[in-house]
């Protein structure tokens, strides 16, 4: 079966270059970013604040990964995170693309950092540029999914990193952090999931790789997509006993 064609927006950012090779095992990617690719990969020059560029980049695609972000700029955070998300959604509607993978920061640690079993509480993004703009983008996704019968999965995380290459002594794994291989797997599941699994057309899912803490749960990601960390990272964080 032919690979699905997927537009990867934010291809040269802090996240996408680490998962591009993994994603290419499953999808035919079209890379796009406003900045040069750190690995020198060929990509489309796309300013997500320009609708025409987003539309042109998305033409002919089966799905869109939106990994674009601006974290702290008082104007660009709105341009990239809010207006950019709007452009992705509008282009998807115009081109008949139904499946989108959206991304953003977790918005629960601030309010629930002393709690456990935190699965899917109402978000508390705060008034800072990064949190509020991504929160607004999630609401845009929810509204467009409902109005236009899209299927959108939004992955939330706090940190991303490579899986340790060997056992780690005397340290704990940071909470709400996903390793690259698990993010690739989650993206694969999000594109391949049956439309009925994405109830309401929009699902926000926690994503991380360590279930040992019992703090931020992956239960919803498991229910919706069948996601589980490929290889539990907690196995690498073990004391030697005896």
């Amino acid at each position: 079966m032919a690979k699905k064609k997927v537009l990867l927006l934010g291809a040269a950012g802090l996240v996408a270059p680490h998962i591009t090779a993994g994603l290419e095992r499953h999808f035919e990617l079209r890379l796009a970013d406003i900045q040069p690719h750190p690995g020198g990969r060929e990509q489309l020059h796309v300013d997500i604040g320009c609708y025409e560029q987003v539309l042109a980049a998305a033409r002919g695609m089966d799905a869109i990964f939106n990994f674009t972000v601006n974290r702290g700029h008082p104007v660009l955070s709105f341009t990239v995170n809010v207006l950019g998300a709007y452009h992705v959604l509008r282009a998807a509607v115009e081109l008949g693309i139904r499946r989108i993978v959206h991304t953003g920061p977790q918005s629960v640690i601030g309010a629930y950092q002393h709690d456990f079993d935190v699965d899917d509480p109402p978000p508390r993004p705060g008034a800072g540029y990064y949190g509020i703009t991504k929160h607004l983008s999630n609401e845009l996704c929810r509204v467009f999914a409902r109005a236009h019968d899209l299927q959108i999965v939004c992955f939330l995380f706090n940190g991303l990193r490579a899986r340790p290459e060997g056992p780690i002594r005397g340290e704990d794994f940071p909470a709400f952090t996903v390793v690259w291989e698990d993010l690739v797997e989650a993206c694969r599941l999000a594109v391949e999931a049956d439309a009925r699994a994405i109830a309401g057309g929009f699902q926000i899912l926690n994503l991380h790789s360590h279930q040992g803490h019992g703090k931020y749960l992956l239960d919803k990601a498991a229910r919706v997509l069948g996601f589980r960390p490929l290889e539990p990272v907690e196995r690498l964080y073990r004391r030697r006993v005896g």
Binding site: R90, A127, I132, H135, E139, A147
Partner: protein
């Protein structure tokens, strides 16, 4: 109090200037020129320009954000949607940040009951119902602005009252052959704003209490949009379109 009113050039802004001016010193703010009542102050500037907004906000104790977009927004098409999205999202953020920086304690944000138009007419809509905005920014934008305000009320000592207003139509000039359960006379909208300003929610310890939402429209004999919660702050609409709704009782 000294109260800043945004969107002052709009008809609603002018109504607010008149009604709030009876109790408060009013400072009016808009991008375009507008009539300024004798006892009011005025500032001209853009909601998207942080310095303009700071100059408008500093020194006031309360803000009424009408959320009426400026006249310069494109009339239709993609450009209009983009401009409204930026104005409602970033513009509201600029305003709220200035309010926090200036120590403003009371904010009234005027949103819209159009957020509930998608529900069938055989339900009673109260503040407990989930908003269902369509993708059009005329209605989605005010909802996004609500979300921005809510996070400021959660993070800072500022009280925010969201008044979700019905469709503004003067009772005397309303088209009787197209009745709308959302009708609200602008004079009653201004009344609701004046009432909302009386409460200082900013010192509530629990963040959820620094934020409240009230639905504001005319009193229909058996209306879809309930206004009981607004009545608790004294809201009593005067203009209830009795000449139109009289035929629909029961």
């Amino acid at each position: 109090m000294e109260v800043l009113v945004t969107g002052a050039a709009s008809d609603l802004g002018q109504q607010l200037a008149a009604v709030l001016g009876r109790e408060h010193r009013v400072r009016l703010f808009d991008e375009r020129q507008f009539p300024v009542p004798a006892r009011a102050d005025s500032r001209q500037g853009s909601l998207l320009a942080a310095e303009d907004v700071w100059q408008a906000v500093r020194g006031v104790q309360a803000v009424v954000h009408t959320a009426v977009p400026p006249a310069g927004v494109p009339a239709a098409g993609l450009g209009r949607e983009q401009a409204l999205l930026e104005w409602y999202a970033r513009g509201t953020h600029v305003l709220m940040q200035a309010c926090v920086d200036a120590g403003v304690r009371r904010c009234v944000y005027l949103s819209t009951l159009e957020l509930f138009r998608a529900y069938p007419d055989d339900v009673y809509i109260s503040e407990q119902w989930r908003p269902l905005p369509p993708p059009q920014m005329e209605i989605l934008g005010p909802y996004l602005g609500e979300l921005v305000c809510r996070e400021f009320a959660a993070d800072y000592r500022i009280g925010v009252t969201v008044l979700r207003l019905g469709r503004l139509e003067y009772e005397e000039t309303v088209a009787p052959d197209a009745p709308d359960l959302l009708w609200l006379d602008p004079r009653d909208a201004a009344q609701a704003c004046a009432l909302a300003l009386r409460a200082d929610l900013s010192q509530e310890v629990h963040s959820a209490r620094r934020w409240r939402v009230l639905h504001i429209c005319a009193q229909h004999p058996d209306g879809k949009y309930l206004i009981q919660r607004a009545r608790e702050i004294g809201y009593a609409p005067v203009h209830n379109y009795a000449a139109v709704w009289g035929g629909e009782r029961g």
